[in-house]
Symmetry: C2
Subunit: 255 residues, 2 copies
Amino acid sequence: MHRLADAAAAATEPHFRNTIAQDKGEHAFDPVTEGDRAGERAMREILADAAPDDTVIGEEYPARTGTSGWTWYLDPIDGTRAFLAGLPTWTTLIGLAAPDGTPVFGCIDQPVLGERYTGWPGGAELFRAGDRTRTPIRVSGCADLRRAVISTTDPFLLAPAEEGAWTHLRHTARLARYGLDAYAYARLAAGTIDLVAETGLKPWDTAALIPVVRGAGGLAMNWQGRPAGHGGQIVCAASEAVMDQALLALRRSAQ
Amino acid sequence: MHRLADAAAAATEPHFRNTIAQDKGEHAFDPVTEGDRAGERAMREILADAAPDDTVIGEEYPARTGTSGWTWYLDPIDGTRAFLAGLPTWTTLIGLAAPDGTPVFGCIDQPVLGERYTGWPGGAELFRAGDRTRTPIRVSGCADLRRAVISTTDPFLLAPAEEGAWTHLRHTARLARYGLDAYAYARLAAGTIDLVAETGLKPWDTAALIPVVRGAGGLAMNWQGRPAGHGGQIVCAASEAVMDQALLALRRSAQ
């Protein structure tokens, strides 16, 4: 996973703050950068050699179907809007799911900051590229939504019922942050954000996020309060108490 | 200014992601960290020795009135909510205003990222702590609001008329980012954000921001379309065209 993240960083970082965005479609704003494609190609080349029997699913290129039952999920630039705005909160996401579909290893890498968050069953750590240190990370354990720091990516992209739920959370919590994409889950795992609630996630997002959050002692569920699956509505929390308080609002708009 | 920023960084950075916030008041949420106070003390100590005749105005301590006519504006941690959430988009702001009140030198420093943006009459640059390079910076020159990346700090803190203006801008622009505080102006000066509109700024914010934005070729005005003063409603743009287009909306809610 570190080899994959290193290769993605080498491909994506030169394009940061130096890129011409391309739109995928005519209607939606969905920026794709040269770095996004270069990063996924770099990771796929490594996997073709190191894990030729595994399935590989990424955002930019067609899936490669393997025979081992294991599946890699790749998103070289999660947070393309932050990337386009020159903000160092985009990340590279790498997830590995077991044959039963459970995401077991995850990586959230931010190469400009030199912060790489990884998680696995029973643990999570922050690797800092600057001094090459590895530090175990742990969620805050904050048990009161009124004291919680919460985050969602774009409050203006929520459906009306979801927006109602978010407004409830926002008015209850201590403070809210926006536009962080996967970096919010990394900071939840590292203890400075206490709740993240989002909709419309993709399988390549959740496969990377869930092992990091759970490995750091956090909870990852869908808005119905069931264990999070692949994509969709996700809520992650630093404690069962905060999760329960958030679900009071989120369940009303659960799909 | 570099000495001041270095001293503030040494005082603030150890508290980042390792802090217990204190509330100033009983009612408003206005977090103040130990780092905020330590950073301002460190800068005031330098100015007491290096510029004993200048006025010093900061957020955390009472003003010191000097005799020279020159005024230093200090904000060791702008973006205390980002600081509390463990996000590296808070900044240290340092501004120097001439006897006629014009802000002439400004600094926006982010020590975790190692990015220091400075501006003066006719120029602006980015100093990177990592490799100690200095690079001239320049606004994008983007001339169409529909292609612009725009930013405001908190869309939920705007007054109703202001919110109407912001909604107009948000629906017109290419994409919007939130929660960046002064870091948005730094990225405007460096060419990746094209418009920033905010309300309720303080004199220690604008004194630092305006020289950086103007030095990089950007415009800084109030929402009436007059040159920006000390604090209040501010709009900064990468071109006259984007400024004119934004003011069509903002003037309606100008104070």
